[in-house]
Subunit: 408 residues, 2 copies
C-alpha cells in the first residue's frame, strides 16, 4: 500500500513567494490539464487520447552524466577548484538535476537571477515565458571566489568531499542579499528560517553555470523511495492512463477536511468529462514552522490515511512544485470545516456559521500534543494515532520550548 | 526655440524599480521603433511608411469626461463621498488621465496591484502582457474608508476641494506597505523620499477603480506648456514624419557627454536605415536627490543647450516613462568621459584610461555650486551659466545643509 504514496522532499522555502490571489483556509488544489482533454465540441468524454503537458522549455531537463563518461568526469574534477555544498545547496542540485526547475540547466546566472526577482518568470530564447518565482543560486565567499580565479569550471563536493557535480561555463556575480530577500518574500523582517540559514550567512557572491551531476542525489533517510523524479512520475501517470492530474500541497497531517476537498475536486473533474483524474498529494518538505510535524511522521500519517481508505490510493500520488503555472487550471473551492450538526467535515455554509468549527493546523497539533482527541470524523483514527505517537516520541525538553525548525 | 523642447513632469519615483540589466554610467537611450521599419529583405530605406507602435493594450487611454457631460458629473459628484488628493495623488491622476499608464483606466485594483508587485507587468484579458513596474494606487485611511461605506463611486477633490475626478466601480483593499516597498525597491531601508512621503505616512487601505477626470491636470507653475500628453506627442511625431523615436532620460543638466551619446545614437539609427529618427529628451520630474538641480532650472539649461546647437532642436523632444518595454530596442553604448588629449567629451577608450576624466553628476553640481568652471568642452558656456545662476539664486542657509527633496 505504501508504494502507492509517492513523496518528494525539496528544499524550496515553504514561505516562497508564490502570489496567491485567492486566499483560502487551505491550499488550493492545482489541476494540471493533460494536452488533449474533452470539450463538448471536439470529442466525447469516452475517447480521450491524453498526454501530460510539456515541461517548461519544451523538454524535461535531466543533468546527469552518462555512465560511460563518469570516469573521465571524476578525473577532470580533480584538476578543478572545489566548492563544498551545504545541505541546502545539495538539495538544490537535486531539484535542478531531475528537471524540477526545467528549463534551468544549473544554478542561475545573473540574468536568470534578476528576471526571477523582478518578473517571477524567465523569458526563453524563443520568446516564451516560464514561471520561475524562487531564485536557485549557489553562494560563495571572497576566499572561494579567489580560489576559483580564472577557471571556467568548478567541482561541487558534498560535506565529505565526494564529487557531486561539475559546474561549467561559470559566471560569478554580486549576491545582493537584501534585494534578494525583499523581492522574494516582500519583507526584510528577521526570523525567516531559510533567509537566516541560506542567505544572510551565505557568501557575498553567486556562481551560476551549467551542471553535470555525477549521481542522482540520495538522502539515505529511509524516505528516498518516496522521492520520484519528474520523469518517473510522468511514467507513472502514463501507466495509470491519467487524463488529468491534480495536486494538493500541505504541510500538516491530512484530515478529513482535506480529504473532502480532494474527493470533491475529483468528482468535479469527472463531471467535466475527465475519466481518470489522478491526485498528487504533496507534503511540503524543506523548512516548515518550528512546531510542525516532521516530514517523516507526516508521511507515516499520509500512508495511514491511504490505508484507511479516506483517499483512494489508486488515484493518489504525491508531488512537488510545478513550474509553468500559467498552464494550470485553478479550481476554486469553498472552505471546509467541522459541521457539528453532521458530525463530519463539510463545506462551510455561511447561512449557519455557528454550526461550524474551524480546526486550524495549530489547533490540530495542540490537540495531538496534549493527547486530546479531535471531534469524531475529523481524521481517521489510524491517522490520528500516528500524530499522537509522534508527540509521545518527543523527549520532553527541559525548557518546554518547541524544537528549532530544520530542513526535513 | 523653446517651443521645440517639450518637457513632462510626472510623479514617478526616480528610483522606481525598472530592472536595469546593463548598468552604465549614464541612462541608456531607449529606441521606440515605429511599426514599419526598413529591413534589407522587405523594403528600401527610402520607402518607409511609418507609424508609431500601438500603446499598450492596443489603444491610448484618455480618461476625460466629454464637455457635454461635465455638468452632470459635477452634479453627480455632489452626492458622493469625497477623497481629498495629495499633491502626489493628483500627479498620478495626471499620469492616468492622459494615458501614460495605458491600459490602466484608473487607480489599480488589487489584482493589478499584486501583478505589478510580483511580475512588473499586467496580463490583459486577451492574454497579452504589458510592462507595469510601478504601482499606481490611491491610499485612504480608516476614517475615509468608513465614510465611503457601501458607495460604489467616490469624488476625488484637490487641496481646495475642487472636483478633480470621479472614481467608479471602486474596490477597497489592504495597503500592505512593507510588501509594496520591499517588492518595488528591493529594500526597506529608511530615507527613500517617495516611500516616506507617499507610502509610510499614507492610509492602510488602497482604493482602485475607473477614473472619469473632469479637466486636464495643470500645475500653473510656468511649465505646463512643456507638458504634452502622449496624444499630443504622437501628433507631433507624425507631423515631423519621425520613423524612429529614441528617448534619453536624465535627472542632471545635459552636458556634452550626454550630447555625444544622443548624437551618436542618431547617427547609428541613420546607418540602420531610418531617415528621420527623433530624440525625446526627458528630464526626470518627481522626486530627485536632495542636492539635485530643480526641474525648472534644468529645463532652462536644456533650452539653452538646444539654443546653442549642441543638440539639433529639429530632432529633439522630451518624454516620460514608456510602457511596453518589450517592444523597445535597447541600443547599448560605450561610456562617455572627458578626454584630456582631445579637450572634449568622447567615448572612453580602455586602452588609455589615464587620459579620461569622469565627471559625475555630483562632481558637476559641486563645481557649479562653487563657481568653478568645468574643463572646456564639457558643457556649452550658455548651459553652464544657467547652472551657476541657479546656485547663485539659492539663499545661503544658515546651517549649510542642502535643501530637502521635494517633488518638482
Amino acid at each position: 500500500m505504501a508504494a502507492m504514496a509517492l513523496f518528494l522532499n525539496i528544499a524550496a522555502p515553504s514561505s516562497a513567494s508564490y502570489p496567491v490571489l485567492h486566499k483560502t483556509h487551505l491550499s488550493p488544489p492545482f489541476l494540471l490539464p493533460l494536452r488533449h482533454h474533452p470539450t463538448a465540441s471536439t470529442r466525447s468524454a469516452t475517447k480521450i487520447s491524453a498526454s501530460l503537458i510539456d515541461p517548461d522549455g519544451g523538454r524535461l531537463v535531466e543533468l546527469f552524466v552518462r555512465e560511460s563518461e563518469k570516469d573521465s568526469k571524476l578525473k577532470q574534477a580533480l584538476g578543478l577548484p572545489q566548492i563544498r555544498l551545504s545541505k541546502i545547496d545539495l538539495q538544490w542540485v537535486h531539484v535542478l538535476s531531475e528537471g524540477w526547475a526545467s528549463p534551468l540547466k544549473g544554478f542561475m546566472r545573473e540574468s536568470e537571477f534578476l528576471q526571477t526577482l523582478h518578473f517571477n518568470s524567465l523569458r526563453l530564447n524563443d520568446g516564451s515565458v516560464v514561471n520561475m518565482s524562487v531564485t536557485i543560486v549557489l553562494a560563495i565567499d571572497d576566499v572561494q571566489k579567489g580560489r576559483i580565479g580564472s577557471s571556467t569550471s568548478v567541482a561541487l563536493v558534498d560535506q565529505n568531499d565526494n564529487l557531486v557535480a561539475i559546474l561549467n561555463d561559470i559566471e560569478i556575480y554580486k549576491h545582493n542579499k537584501e534585494e534578494r530577500i525583499a523581492r522574494t518574500w516582500g519583507t526584510t523582517a528577521h526570523g525567516l528560517p531559510y533567509v537566516e540559514e541560506a542567505i544572510t550567512s551565505a557568501g557575498n557572491w553567486l556562481i551560476g553555470g551549467d551542471l553535470e551531476v555525477i549521481e542522482p542525489i540520495k538522502y539515505n533517510d529511509g524516505l528516498d523511495r518516496f522521492r520520484l523524479s519528474p520523469s518517473q512520475l510522468r511514467d507513472e501517470f502514463a501507466r495509470r492512463n491519467a487524463d488529468a492530474v491534480f495536486a494538493f500541497q500541505l504541510r500538516n497531517p491530512v484530515h478529513n477536511g482535506h480529504a473532502l476537498l480532494m474527493t470533491d475536486t475529483r468528482r468535479r473533474l469527472l463531471e467535466m468529462g475527465y475519466t481518470n483524474p489522478v491526485l498528487l498529494l504533496h507534503p511540503l518538505g524543506g523548512y516548515t514552522k518550528a512546531d510542525d510535524v516532521p516530514l517523516s511522521w507526516r508521511m507515516k500519517q499520509h500512508e495511514k490515511v491511504l490505508e484507511d481508505g479516506v483517499l483512494d490510493p489508486e488515484t493518489t500520488k504525491v508531488l512537488s512544485m510545478a513550474p509553468g503555472l500559467e498552464r494550470l487550471n485553478i479550481l476554486p473551492f469553498k472552505v471546509a470545516a467541522y459541521d457539528n450538526t453532521q458530525g463530519k467535515m463539510a463545506f462551510f455554509d455561511p447561512s449557519r456559521p455557528r454550526d461550524f468549527l474551524f480546526i486550524s493546523g495549530t489547533k490540530m497539533r495542540t490537540l495531538a500534543k496534549n493527547g486530546v482527541n479531535p471531534p469524531d470524523g475529523f481524521m481517521c483514527p489510524g491517522g490520528w494515532k500516528v500524530l499522537v505517537d509522534y508527540y509521545n516520541s518527543l523527549a520532553p525538553s527541559d525548557n518546554g520550548r518547541v524544537p528549532e525548525p530544520v530542513p526535513a
